[in-house]
Symmetry: C2
Subunit: 165 residues, 2 copies
DNA sequence: CACAACTCTATTGTGCACAATGTAATTGCG
DNA sequence: CGCAATTACATTGTGCACAATAGAGTTGTG
C-alpha cells in the first residue's frame, strides 16, 4: 500500500513557519528604513554599534554578536560606510583588525529611527507577554539548533537510504 | 540628559530572534540534505510538489504556496531540473505557464529524506505541544505582518524626524 | 631574531530574496 | 476579428548568507 508522508506537510513545518516569518519581518522593516538608505541587516549592525560605549567595534565582535561571518559583514560594512553612517579604519594597536565606528550621522539615525520598533510591533496587536514568550521560545530553539550544529553530521539519513541511483 | 534607547536592545528584538532562528534552521538542514545536492529552499519546493496529486504544478502555484516570486523560483527550479529531480515544460493548454513536475528521482528523494524532520527535531528535546504552540504563534505573527504590508507605508517615521540633514 | 601557529579581514563563488522590467501568451471588449 | 489589459514567466540588478580560500599581521617558542 502507498505510504503517506505526514511529516512533510508544509503547513505543519516549524522550519517553514520560521522561514516565512523571518522574511515577513525583514520585508516589514523595509518601508520603515526606506528614508535612511539602510537595509534590515545594516540596521542590526547599527543596533550593535549604538550599544557599545565607544560606538566602535572590530568586525569580529560585530560578527560574534549577530552570528554573522566576515564574508557577509565586510561588504555590508562597506555599504554602511558609503552611506556615511560608519567609518572603518585599521586598529593601530592590532593591524589585523578593522575598527568600525559610528559617525555623527550614524548616531543621528538612532533618533530618527527611535519609533521604528514601536511602529512595527504596535500595529500587530501582539500582547507584550505573548511577544516575550515567543522571543524566549525562539531563543531556546535557536540555541538548541546551534548547539547541535557540530554533532549531527553523523546521522545523515540522506546518505543511508541506498535504494536510489 | 542623555536619553536611553531600551527599544533597541538587541537581545529583546523579536525580529533578531526570528532572523537568527531562521538562519539556524536553514543551516541545520544543510548536512541533512547534503547527500542529495539540494538546498533548503529547494527542499521546500519539493514539499509542495510531493503534496500535489499530479506531482506537477505551474510556477505561479508553487510561488503562491511558499510566498516566493518568480525571480527567486525560476533559477531555483532550473537548478532542481539540472539535478534531475524535476522537469519543466510549457503547458500545452496555456503556453504562458511552465509546468514543474517531479521526476522519478525526485519522488525517490521523498523516501530518502523521510527521516529528516524527525532527525532534526528529535534531537532538540522540544515538547510536541511547545512546537505546536510556537508554530501557531509564528503563523499568527506572519499573517499580521503580511496583512500590514500594504498599509503601513504612510506612518514611516524615518521620513518624519526632520532634525537631520 | 627565526619561524610556525594562530587570528583577523578580505575575496571568491554559489545560492536565496526581492524589486523592477521585459516579453510572450491569453483574455476580454468593442 | 483587432487590440488593450491581464497573466505568467524570464531577466537584471542589488543585497544578504555562507563556505572556502587567501593573505597580512600577531603571538609564542626556542
Amino acid at each position: 500500500m502507498a505510504p503517506t508522508y505526514p511529516q512533510f506537510e508544509l503547513d505543519r513545518q516549524l522550519c517553514f513557519a520560521l522561514h516565512r516569518a523571518s522574511r515577513a519581518v525583514v520585508r516589514a522593516y523595509g518601508p520603515l528604513l526606506d528614508g535612511t538608505g539602510i537595509t534590515y541587516p545594516q540596521y542590526l549592525v547599527l543596533l550593535v554599534l549604538w550599544d557599545d560605549p565607544d560606538r566602535s567595534l572590530p568586525v569580529v565582535d560585530i560578527g560574534r554578536r549577530l552570528h554573522l561571518d566576515t564574508g557577509t559583514l565586510t561588504p555590508l560594512l562597506k555599504r554602511l560606510e558609503a552611506l556615511g553612517y560608519v567609518s572603518r579604519a585599521r586598529d593601530a594597536v592590532d593591524e589585523r583588525r578593522v575598527l568600525v565606528s559610528v559617525t555623527p550621522e550614524g548616531l543621528d539615525l538612532r533618533d530618527r529611527l527611535a519609533q521604528v520598533p514601536a511602529t512595527l510591533y504596535g500595529g500587530l496587536g501582539l500582547e507584550p507577554e505573548a511577544a516575550i514568550s515567543l522571543h524566549r521560545d525562539l531563543v531556546q530553539l535557536t540555541e538548541r539548533l546551534e548547539a547541535a550544529e557540530g554533532g549531527a553530521r553523523r546521522t545523515d539519513p540522506a546518505r543511508q537510504g541506498g535504494s536510489g541511483s
